[in-house]
Symmetry: C3
Subunit: 506 residues, 3 copies
């Protein structure tokens, strides 16, 4: 009798434990610092969305010391040790918003605490130094300067986003406003956040003084922060959940890498990889570290190929983690007129082509001799990427895919050259004023048709090929159809313009 009762009790104890185990674990949530507790005390009322978001995050439920106890493959922090001051409390408001106060021009006295408004990659480096260092050398970190310091790109930006007036029937460009620059190109590239003293704002708590920030808000990857650092981790790990799940899902990259100019997201959606992702993602594990191919996911997202640590189910490393998002790439497909080897460093403003312009190729496609990675480095990176493909594809499948991509790149570059030749003809016949006249090469209709060829159509086809296929992007949707059609329009434009110039002269 007693044994039965004992058995009953044991089972009774095991069943709820198994079922409610995870809930039980939450009961032993590690301590919150007194400063963070004070933040939450008010902000729970005044910015409840932030507080609730954070409370669901891993940051709110673990301490740096606990994070260090994981095996090296499973670890999410890259620091080896932590100061006692941060090691044993959860990563809360104060832990992130109070680092390096003297470097932070946006530091201010807030209810008795010295608070930074903007958290920067240097702050995150307290726990994630390797990620911060990798990121700091990437093109993403330099996205602001790569645009503003390059006169060619700057001219393109201003031509596009400026208000135009009509004077005597002519379209006249006026200077672009900072505001519009910041919600177009620099929404992704980042702004330079500046501090202009303090200003009084009228809040639900009454009037308080805060640092007056200009070029803010902004979450561009190349943002220049008030502590001088480059980048915004929140661009991909938003907004107080700092979630690895969000960063690994393709919607995050999709905010900037989308059609018509960088159609990575659009091509992904229409690829076989995307098809499997959308059909099955709800059964996958986006939080596992390391991320196990086949076990945690059955088709790659952006992060799989471009930055995550990927292993087999039994922890064999297939590819290492990187936060330099170009580090696995051998060729640069997008954003510029012709394809070329990846830049050596994220700061691309130092590259010079044969004509002395800060571009990786000449106007007719000749590749710059310095500043770009070598053929050997290209081969090495290609091999690393192929190793990842082979997790799911045979060697021949993978090899053939890369051969096809190489042919596509060559053909698209040839199509761009054809468009360039038509543009040159227009310039030589004075149908449009451009480079050879020392004038803006981006503001005439035929110049804009030429931009479409490489920036929209060429990019779409190259992405479609690189990402194993989005047939409509390669064909009808900003693809070969458009390359072909638009080239004919350029030719017709020249004919019509010659006619009207001729008739005007008469």
């Amino acid at each position: 009798m007693k044994r039965f009762v004992l058995l009953a009790i044991i089972i009774i104890l095991i069943v709820p434990l198994t079922l409610f185990g995870q809930t039980a674990k939450k009961a032993v949530t590690p301590p919150v610092s007194s400063q963070t507790a004070a933040c939450i005390g008010c902000h729970k009322t005044y910015t409840p969305g932030i507080v609730e978001d954070w409370q669901k995050s891993l940051h709110a439920n673990t301490t740096p010391a606990m994070a260090l106890k994981k095996s090296s493959l499973e670890r999410r922090v890259s620091a080896d040790k932590f100061d006692a001051s941060v090691a044993n409390v959860v990563v809360g408001c104060y832990e992130c918003h109070s680092i390096n106060p003297t470097k932070h021009k946006d530091n201010f006295n807030h209810m008795g605490y010295k608070i930074n408004t903007v958290v920067s990659p240097i702050d995150c480096a307290t726990c994630h130094p390797v990620e911060a260092r990798q990121f700091s050398g990437s093109k993403k970190a330099h996205a602001y300067g790569n645009l503003t310091k390059n006169p060619v790109f700057s001219s393109l930006v201003d031509t596009i986003v400026s208000v135009k007036k009509i004077e005597n029937g002519k379209v006249i460009q006026t200077p672009a406003s900072a505001s519009t620059r910041h919600e177009t190109c620099f929404a992704c590239h980042g702004t330079e956040v500046k501090v202009n003293g303090l200003k009084e704002v009228d809040t639900a708590m009454g009037k308080i003084k805060v640092p007056a920030l200009s070029n803010w808000p902004n979450q561009g990857v190349g943002r220049i922060n008030p502590d001088g650092s480059l980048g915004a981790c929140s661009a991909c790990h938003p907004r107080h959940s700092f979630s690895i799940e969000i960063a690994r899902k393709p919607y995050t990259c999709a905010q900037c890498h989308l059609d018509p100019d960088v159609p990575a997201w659009n091509v992904y959606k229409e690829s076989k990889h995307g098809n499997i992702y959308f059909s099955k993602y709800q059964d996958w594990n986006f939080k596992a570290v390391p991320w196990k191919v086949g076990k945690d996911f059955q088709a790659p997202t952006c992060a799989t190929c471009h930055n995550s640590l990927i292993t087999t189910a039994d922890n064999k490393v297939i590819i290492d983690r990187t936060h330099d998002f170009g580090a696995r790439l051998w060729i640069r497909l997008f954003g510029l007129v012709y394809s070329h080897p990846q830049p050596i460093h994220g700061d691309t403003s130092v590259i010079k082509n044969k004509d002395g312009l800060p571009l990786p190729t000449t106007f007719t496609g000749e590749v710059a001799e310095t500043g770009l990675i070598s053929r050997d480095e290209q081969s090495k990176r290609q091999k690393t990427m192929q190793g990842l493909c082979k997790s799911c594809h045979t060697t021949q499948w993978t090899t053939n895919h890369f051969v096809k991509l190489e042919n596509t790149i060559k053909e698209v570059d040839n199509m761009t050259l054809s468009a360039t030749l038509l543009l040159l003809e227009a310039w030589k016949n004075n149908l449009a004023e451009g480079l050879i006249h020392g004038k803006n090469p981006f503001d005439d209709a035929i110049e804009q048709m030429w931009i479409r060829q490489w920036l929209f159509y060429g990019n779409s086809i190259k992405y479609s090929s690189a990402m194993t296929g989005a047939p409509d992007y390669a064909t009808f949707k900003n693809g070969w159809w458009n390359l072909t059609e638009n080239l004919q329009h350029m030719s017709d434009w020249i004919e019509f313009k010659k006619t009207s110039k001729g008739s005007v002269k008469k």
Copy 2:
């Protein structure tokens, strides 16, 4: 000993109750009326999809009397009391399809019951009178008349959706068919559903007589129903689940508010809010009333900002529910040539501009003096909306965002004015026939280029700015790129047309 056994039994009873509690609750599903039971008896066989859909709904699992027992914040009905006839049965087929039979021209004798084919907002008002009343004053409710009663908009509709013939090499417009009008503009705006007696239809149950409806099916928000009421609740709460979850998810609004003319959905998808929604929505609670920021969701959907009742986790109201979807808005960004204050009433056909046309601005952007809300009302609404933003954003972040939006609206309106000036030049030079000739201002190529400027490109940029950013929509995808490029095309078109008119004259 006995105590152990008692404990065991208590736990044994608690565990399954906890686990199967919800299932257990379903066991006490409230009663179905005899009429609805009769409907289901047949329709389970003949339209099984509808019946199954309804059976999963809240309507099928609650009674009005039960609904009234909730606290005022949690309540989903806005009536204070119910007739005994409806209070204690679930909201079934007969309860909705039998209201006000004498007003319903679509009422018919169906198997011995007097049934309305079309359920209208007045019918829904039995339980949801506040929502119905709010909706009835909105632009949505008046979407049909706002288009049909306005000769300018009517002319635009007909120009677009009519078949064109070629006569002597010229494009000649023929009258637009009702059928095509109904599956284009009026699919969203709604049709006027008319009853033309009874007709015999051949069903799986044999031949039966039903009201002969024209302009049907339609689920446009501004539908005119056979009982004279305006609107279709099923536009957003489809189709027998009447789900709050569906209405709160952005796909619902996306059916009509999408690119190129109303790109709210497209901009949302590419915004930070959208990024977080798509990455995390499966963990959110879309059924909770009230809807708690941070707790139930961590980023807004359309409904959050435009109509839901939002509270903090501890039930502090942040913003009240409204079913007048313009009620929180201070400025009207889309659908018309220039931005302007929101109309006072949903029926916008009464507005007149200085030129006497039923439009909120003149051809060059001057705002009408009557029919639009005051500056004070604008400020008040802006403040209400900012209060919601501040659930997750600081005061400075929010303020700066609104300043940026204001600048964008001004710049876009200036770009529209530039396009208008080119259009006027074309008209003055008789290159196209338009307003100044008393002719259709929408059918020439340059007129259609002009429409693109404000209806597609301007709207995209303004939405992108208003919804905190979809950089590609502001830049390359129907954004500044297209505004700029198309303005140049307008200028070139004038040049080419002058040339060909000149050469024809010679």
Copy 3:
């Protein structure tokens, strides 16, 4: 006392069994063949993604003999019996990659086993013969030949996807490369996979010899396989999960049926059906066979209307399963200049129009007299499809929908005829060289404008109408707006070209 204890023990045993029942079932996974075990032994290390994907599949967890035990409605195999050699092991690597080795030109000795690289529909027919036979007669199976054997379509393909050079200011077409053909049109239509002996590849296991495949990789639905069979089941059931869930979700069809030329996916997304799908799909059952309307899903996906076996909740068949995806269709809306009855057979290269061209209509829209289904067959299919609509819609709703569709098809075809008349005028005036000059009818600007009318805009409107509405696709997004605008551009182009030809002649 004892009775209480007994009761406790019974409940204790029942609770875990109920909860962990499914896990318990997995414990009795059926046996893997020794050959498949050998495959997995190595491939678990070398292609872990494939192995893990398969292990989650139904194939890995059931045997053909077990599959036969299901009732006929629930059965997923269509073979009546199986050889002893396959009946009692799970469907593993070897079971699929070793069938008909002598027919398979891609068979090779791989680590002592005779392995086929490419699995074909004939191989799948071992268990799924009815599906393979239905598919083999479909347009999908013949998608490769329908393009390559038809000189009109071939010419269109080559015009679009070939590199163009500029010679003396003229755009000159060069031959299209196989590589680019394969990642554009033939990515969906399929390639002819050829075996060119063996080649050595350098793998993680060292150098091994494999069949050298050209035109590979490819997963187009009309792929010609090394065993001579047509098609790729993996096009819709990818890639080693062979999942019915993936095939039923719309992302799968979306890889090829998307805008601008085949905008089925895009229209679906913006339709009421799509709205409900995206809002609720996570609660639906995509694995149930048969698929029960209302119970398993509350709005259709592509598969619902076009190929799945659909029943009521109590197993009444509403529509039978088919893998001939055109079998339920009465009219062909897309891909060709004018609408016409569905072809009788999937091989459409045999159809001839009155002018002797292999097309279902003449240049001005007259329908071919042979090769297309009869009016009676059209009515029969329409009735079958309407039967499915009536699962959720009334007879009148359904009938009115079909009437509206018919009107739309007629109007769009009339708009196409108008564009054709303008194209003829251009040809007759020698502004472009086309059919009447024996020249390429697809390479001039006005010819490409004409293609846009039917291939992009007409298709969008017809799809939007057919799939119960995506108002913006019918109106502004490749819809009536674009049909109207582009027709005007064709007219202007003719005017400008006449002017410039005139001025050149002078």
